[in-house]
Each structure stands twice: as C-alpha cells, then as structure tokens.
Amino acid sequence: MTDSAVELTRGFKEGKWTAVETTQLFLDRINANESKVHAFLSVDADRALADARKVDEKREAGESLGRLAGIPVAVKDLICTQEWTTTCGSKMLETYRPPYDATVVEKLQAADAILIGKTNLDEFAMGSSTEHSAFGRTHNPWDLERVAGGSSGGAAACVAADMALLSLGTDTGGSIRQPAAFCGVVGLKPTYGRVSRRGLIAFASSLDQIGPLAWTAEDTALLLETIAGHDPADSTSAPREVPSYSDTLNQPLKGLRIGIIEDHFEEGLNHEISQAIQTLIQWLEDAGAIPEPVRLPHSRYGIATYYVVASSEASSNLARYDAAHYGYRTSNEDAAENLEAMYERSRSEALGNEVKRRIMLGTYALSSGYYDAYYLNALKVRRLIRDDFESAFQKVDLLLGPTTPSAAFRAGEKSTDPLSMYLEDIYTVLANLAGVPAVAFPCGQTGEGLPISAQLWGPAFEEGRLLQVVHQFQSHTEWHKKRPSFS
C-alpha cells in the first residue's frame, strides 16, 4: 500500500483502497509484530473494523470525508476514550472506562480516523523507558533487548514496527521526543496550550501536551493540524487560529538562523550523536540556513527544576486515585471499616514504585517548611529558563541540539538508579519548562544500527517552522526511510 499517511488517505479518498482493507492490513501487522514489541495495551479489531466500515459507507454515500479519513491511528493509553479502557499503564486504572472522550479523540473521530489501539507507557507517564508499565515493558523494534524510550514508548514503537502510521503521545518532559529518538521516528511536542489537554490524564498539568508521532514531517503536520486548536473546555488552551502546517512545509530554508545550543554539546553527549548532528548542521548550511552558536545559561538547571515542578503537580494530580469513586480498591479486610487503611492500602497496592517515588518527592517539595526552598524556587528558576529561550529567539529563528545524550539503552540498565534515568531527559525538559514547541527527528545511526535523533526548538506557536526544516531534510536524506529488521 504505502507508508505515508498523507498518501494513505489520498488513496482512500480516490477509491484505491477501502478503510477496511487498510485497517485489516495494520491489524495483520499488529498480529505479526505485537508479541515481540508489546507496543499496545489494547487492540480491538472488531471495533476498529466496524469504525472502518462506517468510514467506507460515508465514502460510498458521497459524504464529505475528514482529513484523516481511512487512516488507523494509535492513541497513548493516557488519553481518555469512552469506548476503550484507559489504564495509564497502572493497576490503579486497569479496568477504568472514562465517561467521556478526550477532545483530541473527538477530533480524530471528526476527521474520520480509525482508532486502532491504545499504546503502552510508563505508569502515569512517569518514566523514560516504558519499563514502568504495570502491564509489561515495550521493546525497541531496532533491538528488542533495548528500551523503546518513554513514557510514550508504545506510541513510538508502534510506528517503528509498522503497526500504525500515526500515533498520539504525550510529552511532559520529553515523553514524545525521547521515545521518538530511540525508535527512529518523528515526534513533536507542541507549544503549551496548542492542543487541548481535556482528556489527557494529568501528570504535570503545567507541562503536559499531547503531540503526534509519525515517520515523516508531512504526516506529523497532518496529525498536528487535526488535533490542534482552542478548546473552551481547557482554560490553558490558547485562543489562536491553527495554521495549515502542511502548506508551509516547502518554504525555503534560506536565511533561517539556527542557534546551535552549545551547552548541549558538552560533557555527557555520545560522540556518534554529536557527529551526526554536525553533519546535519552542515546540511542546513548547504541549504542556505545560517547556524550560529547560542547559549542557554540556565539549561543545566532544567532537570532539577523539572523534577520539582512535575513531581509537585503530580502529587496533587494523583491524589484523586483514592479508591472512592473509581479505580482500584484493596480487598484487604482491615480496610473495609477503616477509611485511612482503605486509602493507604489501595494506593500502595495499585501504584508502582516510580509513581510513589514522585508522589513522595512532590509531597515533600510542597509541604510546609519546604515549599519556598523547593517548589517556589523551582518556579523562579523556571522563569529564568524561559527567559533564556526568549533571549535566544531574539537572535535566532530556531534552536538545534541532540534529543538524547545517548541512543536507546538496554532494558534494566537504568531502572535501579532513578537519578540516572531522570538525566535521560536532560535535553528535552527545557521545551516543557519554557512552553515552546520542539521536534525530534532521526538524523543518523550509531555503529550498532540504533537511531540517532536531533531536536529542533521553535518560538511559541512556530510548529510550522520546525516541520518545514524536518520535511526538507527528509526530502534530501534517507534516515526516515530506515526500518528496523526485527521481523
């Protein structure tokens, strides 16, 4: 058929194939590959085929068809779907069926997309490897012994393993971009407020954004322009028009000033990644862009700031899992007549270690006597970090650097050392703290054949500029056409 979503929907609209055929093809691939990768927490073939049939009928009836008509889309299991359980990768919500659909899910449906499955993640999106899922880890299609990254590991791996062309992830500190990097696909975190958070189960409300993952910038643009836009049901959603990202992909790069973040090429960065990005910079220069060095003086405080802010918000956001109104409740007898015991046992039995660790850290940072030193101070440093970006974007149009310090690591390698796992996000958390958009895209491979990823940042609401660069890079290179050979 094709591995471009843009061509897939075009072919469908032109009558070259039906939505049922397309959906069946992807279901067959899931059947073949899922047992090795474990990208999904739920796949409902009957429902997907039924939805596909409806879209086919719509086409037959000559009705107007949506932007994603006939394309199967995977959705991270942190995003609410009324017809599917939404587990967050947690035992707490193993059987939870939300009473409503997320705004992005409504938009997918309105665009005639076909929801093919809910993807695996680190529990409540807390993690960088998708090892912290209560329902088993996701394997990296490029090397099954390695992690897919996280928390949107399933969202990235299902694209890399050809089980979906479009996938929705969420990004709080790098949760779209880091797995996109590890799995060799494009992953974009939009500007804070660009995509509605209604129905995105909150990890850290001031940082969370839903975003697209796909092979190409073109497909990423297609999915982003479908899900973006103001939502009156999300107070933090930006009341701004959504530009057509697809229409600006070919605008020339000539004269585009690209800031190379020097701070991110210093200690800790893998040499092969550094090399690959130097090659990318050379390509950009050849294409007429103007690279220039830029510093973000507070970027080294990113991880510390991020962990205080994100954990504090998480400790409050996850207080709702109290076993009273939905979710897991302990069957322990002591808890039947004692409310405190019911709370404590239920939460302790159903939440995983990483989640507990962050709840503990966040509760500590907000508690009386520590608030000013940790939480309030982190918010001040957060402003300094944002100011760094604002000054940088006075001088340059985009910023460029690596997505991750190294390529995909082996499963189990970092799971015993939380801090080393946290440092995985060192280059990605900044975009969330500053609220700016950033895209990760493949730009090379390591000697071991693992994908290497570059990261581009733009000023708020300049997603189009990011995709323009990635698209033209992809038009001249082959990295996005590399496929893992696991099958």
Binding site: Y96, R97, P99, Y192, G193, S206, P232, S235, T236, S237, A238, P239, Y301, I303, A304, T305, Y307, V308, A319, D322, A324, H325, G327, Y328, A335, A336, E337, N338, L339, A341, M342, E344, R345, R347, S348, L351, K356, R357, I359, M360, L361, T363, Y364, S367, A373, Y374, L376, N377, L379, K380, V381, R382, R383, L384, R386, P418, L419, Y422, G435, A460
Partner: protein, 97 residues
C-alpha cells in the same frame, strides 16, 4: 550535599500522600529521596533575587464560561466506575464526623 532526609520524614510525607510503606520501602526511599533532593538542591545556588515565580508559561487569562446548565451524567454512568456503590451513592468505609 547532605539533605538530612530521615525515615521519620519519609513516614510523615507518606502519611500526607496516603501511602503505606514497608520498612524496606522506607529505607529505600530515604536513600533515593536524599539523592534526588541532593541533586535538586543545586537550585538553591541560582540567584533568584527579584525573579517572580512562573506559574503559567502561557499568557492566557480570563478563561470564563457563562452560567448555563449543561445536562449532567446519568447516575448509572456517574457510578459505573465505582469500586463500591449502592445504586444511589458511592460507598466508602465509615467517615467519622
């Protein structure tokens, strides 16, 4: 840097967060939180004099809605995810007034 997180601090925070920890978990969390908090303590070296805290990255204000009633959920679906209910209300172990 020593942060002085002790098991009594861990227990106090766990109580606030409604988590029941085993002795082993308490021990592990003393170590892990000490390490993380020790790392986070680098923020205290940043000069934040006269820096206002940033609680919203976006300049959106005044997200308001009109006072118009929207139909509520049928009770059945309000209760549908409840671990324990009696058809009318959510049931929890006794709340002592």
């Amino acid at each position: 840097m020593t942060t002085g997180i002790e098991s009594k601090d861990v227990l106090k925070v766990a109580k606030l967060a409604k988590l029941q920890l085993t002795e082993e978990e308490v021990k592990r969390l003393v170590d892990e939180l000490s390490q993380i908090v020790g790392y986070v303590d680098q923020l205290s070296s940043v000069d934040t004099t006269n820096v206002a805290p940033l609680d919203h990255v976006l300049d959106v204000t005044d997200a308001l809605r009109d006072d118009i009633v929207i139909s509520s959920l049928p009770r059945e679906s309000a209760l549908s995810n409840a671990p324990k209910e009696d058809g009318e209300t959510f049931l929890v172990p006794p709340v002592l007034g």
